[in-house]
Symmetry: none
Subunit: 242 residues, 2 copies
Amino acid sequence: MKKVGEPTPKTRLLRAAAALLAESNGEAVSTRQITQAAHVTAPTLYHHFGDKEGLFDAVVAEGFSEYLDAERNLPTSGQPVEDLRMHWDNHVQFGLDHPHLYLVMFGNIRPERRPSMVASAEAFLEEVLARAAAAARLVVTPHEAARSILAANIGVTLMLIAEPAAKRNLELSAMTREAVISAVATDSEADPTTDTEGTPSVVVAAIALNAALQSSHPDQLSGSELKLFLEWLQRISSRSGS
Amino acid sequence: MKKVGEPTPKTRLLRAAAALLAESNGEAVSTRQITQAAHVTAPTLYHHFGDKEGLFDAVVAEGFSEYLDAERNLPTSGQPVEDLRMHWDNHVQFGLDHPHLYLVMFGNIRPERRPSMVASAEAFLEEVLARAAAAARLVVTPHEAARSILAANIGVTLMLIAEPAAKRNLELSAMTREAVISAVATDSEADPTTDTEGTPSVVVAAIALNAALQSSHPDQLSGSELKLFLEWLQRISSRSGS
DNA sequence: GTAGCACCTATAGCGGTGTTATATGAATTG
DNA sequence: CAATTCATATAACACCGCTATAGGTGCTAC
């Protein structure tokens, strides 16, 4: 009853699952729907994927590798900060192109059950940021920068997905992107909190904090604590070489 | 069979659902579990809430009104931008206090099925921002600012919820908060590191110094000194103290 | 050829899920 | 006291994820 030359049941299952997931607007997709669409019975699914979740993980993994491939194939402009913008936009675009996949990938955050690929997205972003750091464009560590940017990126994408496509305003993305990037990197070298070597200057930051503390005393520290804190700050500020 | 004076079945259902939702770590909660815990049979649930989703909506609505009440009862510092920081922190804290509820409220974004309360959270934020606008502290419209801030706020909170409580680094929140706020509002009319109102700039400077210290440890401070110093720095950065 | 042997798939069914048609009890009202 | 309305319970339906079991299929070995 079956034609030869057709794709194997395993790939048929994958495609059917992906298709149904994309169609059904966020509603649950049953294994019976999937197996029926793939012209396959239940045990086949469990033989190949072990689990319903296993199947969905496979679908997500496919979509995610597509995403990562797109990320890696983005042309590098030679300007790390500009690259950062490109990757942000690519992330948002991927979310809008595959909203349901995206929700499974980044929205469905169960602690301890979170797809490890999110971590690798973070790692990838960190790579890009490491290049920015090497180019003396970073004010904080690549790791922190990556987390902050990714968090904002996901938040913006989720919000854009949530609202009807017609009403989507991509300026939200651009605006937030600039906000978080400019807090983390600098387009040029003029920023006073960055020394010539690219690493955040402890001395400059300490001096800035010291100055700020002159005009306002934080209530998180007691008087004696503050006294010692300022003394240490002074010691750090007066350091000679880096 | 039943004691009198006990809460009505309706509230028992609500409490049982909330409790089970909070306990079961992101796993699905069945109507049978709920009705059994509430000492009630299925039709009672459907009589009062029409739907499983109706019940969960009611639970979420309760949690959300709790959240909004907390928001409204936050003391206003008179400094709109400072209020903004407070509301951001309150949002994050609520997410960390009620992670599962939060995921249902903000994470489980099905287009067209998104709880209307998210919209009212946005509206509330917009109010706060309108006050900032009135104080001439805003560089974009309150609406745009609210969306951008809320998106980043949700993204950060989701990311913090996703990672194990022990490893949570609240600096991610502070850092992103400052990024998105400073892109949208201005603390005063001049250099952000030397304003006349005090605390905010201290926070920024403290965060910068903290970041700088991550990559290079000064030799002017001993190990134990540095440890205490960083702890204080953290305290200043997170401005959680009274 | 055919015996053995993995591999893959199907039949049929289990326990659990959300939900509801129907019926019963309790309270309120005439 | 009768009638009506609300709140709850009994029992069942259709569906769900999943699996014990068995039967094909193609391969290698003799």
